[in-house]
């Protein structure tokens, strides 16, 4: 009897929490089919309306949305691949090799994880300017490769990697690099996927730094494109902005629904020490 009451109470709380969590998503998809008058009508209806096509047309005339989507994809994919490669190599190097200053260098790198990114923004902007990288994807991809987070994560994962496996690869005549790419990395797929997912989602939504180094519409990523649409002083068509939000949301959402378990593990990998 007591259990039944507790059960019902828990279900109610979880259902309410789920509805609150999902509501803005559902509202976004529905609002993308409404026009302005319908979105701001005191009786917003949750039935999809017929304006999706008009909204999309309107969006395409106000911003180069497909170009911006392409920029987002190029930056995010390139960055994620490079991060996985660089950080797994560095993490392995720090975890498995004795070399002079290993601990000291690692510790210095670790300290930078506590420093807020705002500290480096002005100097990086000056650097990007002098390298003529402003308004190019490289201004976002390359400085981001200096991030220590992934190296720290991969080093933790490699600490537990059995040395005998590397030993036996060497006995078979493989060099350090070949042993790493053929023997070590394939067994680390879950950690690489975690790092990849986390990196992808963060870069996909990255806003402050791109806002500083990208100031041409044709070089914008999706978040900048959307932000520009709501800038004060513009004539705003909210339905079309919601179509833009759907285009921004959809890739991450689809990935999430396919790789749900890895996705949650990946997003939490920085937080939960295994």
């Amino acid at each position: 009897m007591k259990h039944t009451a507790a059960k019902i109470a828990i279900y109610i709380v979880l259902i309410v929490a789920s509805v609150i969590a999902l509501f803005p998503f559902i509202w976004t998809f529905i609002a993308a089919t409404h026009n302005n008058a319908q979105i701001f009508n005191m009786k917003f209806t949750f039935l999809p309306q017929s304006h999706f096509g008009d909204n999309l047309k309107q969006l395409q005339t106000s911003v180069p949305i497909w170009k911006n989507l392409g920029n987002s994809i190029f930056i995010t994919v390139t960055y994620t691949v490079l991060i996985i490669l660089l950080d797994s190599m560095a993490g392995f190097g720090f975890a498995k090799y004795h070399f002079k200053g290993n601990k000291t260098i690692f510790f210095i790198c670790l300290i930078t994880m506590m420093i807020p990114p705002q500290v480096t923004m002005v100097p990086l902007y000056i650097q990007m300017n002098s390298m003529h990288w402003v308004n190019t994807p490289w201004a976002i991809i390359v400085p981001g490769l200096a991030s220590m987070f992934g190296v720290f994560l991969m080093r933790q994962n490699f600490e537990q990697f059995p040395n005998d496996l590397i030993e036996s690869a060497h006995i078979d005549g493989a060099g350090d690099l070949r042993a790493f790419f053929q023997i070590v990395l394939p067994t680390m797929k879950p950690s690489l996927a975690s790092l990849g997912i986390l990196t992808f989602v963060q870069q996909w939504g990255n806003y402050m730094w791109p806002l500083i180094v990208l100031n041409k519409q044709s070089s914008y990523t999706l978040p900048l494109s959307l932000a520009m649409l709501v800038a004060p002083g513009n004539v705003i068509n909210y339905g079309s902005i919601m179509v833009g939000a759907v285009i921004t949301l959809l890739p991450v959402l689809i990935f999430f629904l396919i790789f749900q378990k890895n996705f949650i593990a990946g997003m939490l990998s920085g937080a939960v020490k295994g």
């Binding site: 709380v13 929490a17 509202w27 004795h98 990086l124 200096a146 030993e167 350090d176 949650i264 939490l268």
Partner: protein
């Protein structure tokens, strides 16, 4: 036990590529920023001005206001969210319910949306001209609220937005912590006749303490760097009520191009975050 390598230079092949990026785009800018904070930077020319930038910030009312706003948001939002996350984490771990996977997935979803999209969605939902939330309030018999033109309400709006986005994420962190608590502890308590409340206070909370501390400091760190929500959702307004420190520094650095002052401000922020990190290390080490 580390693996002893055959080749002398092997570690540099592994660590080198990252280190090159690290030195050029992290170590150097950190030091350059420190130098800049004591200088005036105009059109590529640098002139040493001593402590002038710091002195300017420490007497600048807007800077204090931005720090004050950031701390108000932090002090209200982080505790509320931590308690909610703790409750949800425990419910998601409950043995009484089915469909746990679905509930975990739903509560987690808000962190998938990028900060710009969700800021815009909240802007529309809370709009003062017939937005959904105000029409709901009207339907329930209340009066529509001025979410954007009243200072306290704009702060509340930012707090609501942050809580919506991060509660589920933190509750899954709590859940992971809960699943690491050994069931034997609860068994032993049951044998001693403890009820669920005693178990929660005597076992769950103490066992979960490191995870709770991590979640609190992680959230504080994020809130101290709050930028997108105030920039897009409330534009720092009304009357600078939601001007956060990072938004202020962004305006100083990239609207007025006052690089020296922006660097000095970012170092003040770094010191505040460093103090919090040291407190965190202290609190964690006491266990």
């Amino acid at each position: 036990m580390k693996y002893r390598l055959k080749q002398k230079f092997a570690p540099f092949i592994f660590v080198g590529p990252f280190l090159i990026f690290f030195i050029i785009f992290m170590a150097y800018p950190i030091l350059y920023s420190l130098v800049l904070s004591f200088c005036k930077y105009r059109a590529g020319h640098i002139a040493f001005v001593g402590l002038k930038n710091y002195a300017y910030l420490l007497t600048e009312k807007l800077f204090y206001q931005s720090l004050g706003n950031t701390f108000v948001i932090l002090i209200i939002q982080v505790p509320i969210m931590t308690v909610l996350a703790l409750v949800l984490g425990n419910l998601l771990n409950s043995a009484l319910i089915k469909l746990k996977g679905a509930f975990r997935m739903f509560t987690f979803m808000p962190v998938l949306i990028d900060s710009v999209s969700y800021s815009i969605v909240f802007m529309l939902l809370f709009s003062e001209n017939g937005g959904f939330i105000n029409s709901m309030i009207s339907t329930l018999g209340g009066s529509p609220q001025k979410w954007f033109s009243s200072g306290p309400l704009a702060v509340l709006l930012i707090i609501l937005a942050l809580t919506w986005r991060w509660t589920g994420y933190n509750s899954l962190i709590m859940l992971a912590g809960l699943q690491n608590i050994s069931p034997d502890l609860y068994e032993a308590a049951s044998i001693d006749g403890a009820n669920s409340f005693v178990k929660f206070w005597k076992i769950t909370i103490p066992q979960l303490k490191p995870v709770i501390i991590f979640s609190i400091f992680n959230s504080m760190n994020g809130t101290l760097q709050l930028f997108t929500e105030p920039q897009l959702l409330t534009q720092g307004g009304p009357a600078n009520a939601t001007l956060t420190t990072v938004l202020y520094l962004y305006q100083v650095g990239f609207k007025n191009f006052n690089f020296g002052v922006a660097s000095a401000g970012s170092y003040i922020l770094a010191v505040i975050i460093a103090i919090f990190t040291l407190i965190q290390l202290r609190v964690t080490r006491e266990d």
